[in-house]
Amino acid sequence: MTKYTDQGKQDTRSGYGAGMTELGRTNPNVVALCADLVGSLKIETFIEENPERFFQVGIAEANMMGMAAGLTIGGKIPFASTFANFATGRVYDQIRQSIAYSDKNVKICASHSGLTLGEDGATHQILEDIGLMKMLPGMTVINPCDFNQTKAATIAIAEHHGPVYLRFGRPKVANFTPVDQKFEIGKALMLNEGTDVTIIATGHLVWQALLAAESLENQGISAEVINIHTIKPLDDKAILDSVKKTGCVVTAEEHNYLGGLGESVARVLASNHPAPQEFVATQDTFGESGTPEQLMEKYGLNNKAIEAAVLKVLKRK
């Protein structure tokens, strides 16, 4: 197995910005829209190099989603970006009717998802967005784990025809996936093979899952770690193959346990191979102000929480 190491802390939103820079240079149909958050989305280079392909819409997210839908008519590939809360909950009906139901090739790119945007607090900390987006027919939902994977995902979704929700975040976190790793939408990545328990993680929680697995190994527990960067379509086979082997599962995500990755995994297991499952996720609550680390600790979203969930689920086998 590849031993993953932290190549240096970077924010996933900068991975998006780096991906956009590359797309600006390689795909003339890619256009970008932003609702007054250019600096936060790290797309300055794309704008500087392709000013005619950037649309600053102001603080008007509903209009942005509709404009993105319209730009596809004529062959453009719009990347509409803002904070996750304003990219989903605020404009759900615009996405539903003008993008998803209308089969438009729009990429909704959302930074500052989950709790770890930190001090701004609950008004900006959406923990429901995966659920909102995965419920839309035809919507692809992706939550990459680090800088490299976010950059790769950004580039990959331009080649995929159809609406995509790409979710990433603000804090600097471990960058550990290979810089040249191919990003295949819907294809789970096995990060650590194990036999006692399966840990299925997405987004920022993937690195925490690896840390937990390392600690568990020292306690004699063999944990398999799977990186689910694509929550929809879900890689059912990877999940079932692993859980058939280990017999139990912990899911980990920076999202409400209602509507998130955990429920998607539970559906696959319930339909095919019922097994004990524990959910590392927020427990149907809003967030609050604090540092990312404090919030992950308080809301049970770190390696320690994953470890505790593993010990619990092992008892239920």
Partner: protein, 281 residues
């Protein structure tokens, strides 16, 4: 180019289509459809430059977006009679397995429709996006859109109106159907919209008015005038006054027929007022 009498014959035939469609399924929105018949007939048969056939991208032709999707009957009838799909398909309006959904959609692949609409207030944003794509593509054709006046109560419109003017989207002609009615009553009673033309003007649009949107000559003149004002740094708005239910005496001067189908007797009466011109579907 059809002459005015031919367009007028088409107007009457489209009215018959609308009435028969909503009557058959005892649902749908005849009022606004009847009020906008002249507009659709003029737009699709005289004003827009259209290619043969249909492709989603619409490069090299004018494109149209219906924002107030509930007036789908007039849209479907005019599309069918313009040759986008067989007119017999109007028989399937609102039925199971039909491409003619209650509100227009791309989802079933109906030629002529480029975005779903029905949830109000979204069409102008889409039209702006399409207009920007035309500019990026070096395509000098135009984007048209239609909006209900009641629909302007949706805030997204004002985001779009502000954007289009601020960014000089001057290949866009947005028409507001000022029939003064919405489901719960007169627009000025439900939530006053006030002077629509002035509101667009102060937002920075070039605005013209069609005083009688049920006079085919006036509609043609207004649309042609609007076209002549494109490409001059401002989006163009037409405030078009129409009569909801126009062409059927008992459906006019009321909001009652916004979303109600006629009975058998009412249909017979309405069709008598609009004698067959080009052949029923």
């Amino acid at each position: 180019m059809p002459n005015t009498q031919e367009l007028q014959d088409l107007v009457v035939q489209v009215r018959r289509d609308i009435l028969r469609m909503v009557h058959k399924v005892n649902s749908g929105h005849p009022g606004g459809s009847l009020g906008c018949t002249e507009f659709f007939v003029a737009l699709y048969n005289e004003v827009m430059e259209l290619k043969d056939g249909f492709d989603m991208d619409g490069i090299g032709e004018d494109v149209f977006f219906l924002s107030n999707g509930h007036i789908s009957p007039v849209f479907y009838s005019v599309l069918a009679r313009r040759g986008y799909f067989p007119i017999e398909e109007l028989n399937t309006f609102r039925l199971i397995d039909s491409r003619l959904q209650g509100h227009p959609t791309t989802h079933e692949g109906l030629p002529g429709v480029r975005v779903a609409s029905g949830s109000l207030g979204q069409g102008m944003s889409v039209a702006i996006g399409a207009a920007l794509a035309k500019k990026l593509n070096g395509d000098d054709h135009l984007v048209f859109s239609l909006h209900g006046d009641g629909e302007l109560q949706e805030g997204q419109n004002w985001e779009a109106i502000m954007y289009a003017a601020g960014n000089k989207v001057d290949n866009l002609i947005s028409t507001v159907d000022r029939n003064g009615q919405q489901i719960d009553g007169a627009t000025e009673d439900v939530l006053p919209i006030g002077d629509v033309a002035e509101k667009f003007r102060v937002f920075g649009w070039d605005v013209l008015e069609i005083e009688n949107g049920n006079d085919i000559e006036q509609v043609l003149a207004g649309l042609k005038e609007a076209k002549s004002r494109t490409g001059k740094g401002k989006p163009v708005c037409i405030v078009m006054t129409t009569e909801m239910g126009n062409g059927v005496d008992f459906m006019m001067h009321t909001h009652a027929w916004h979303g109600k189908a006629p009975s058998d007797e009412q249909l017979a009466n309405a069709l008598e007022q609009n004698p067959e011109t080009l052949g029923d579907y």
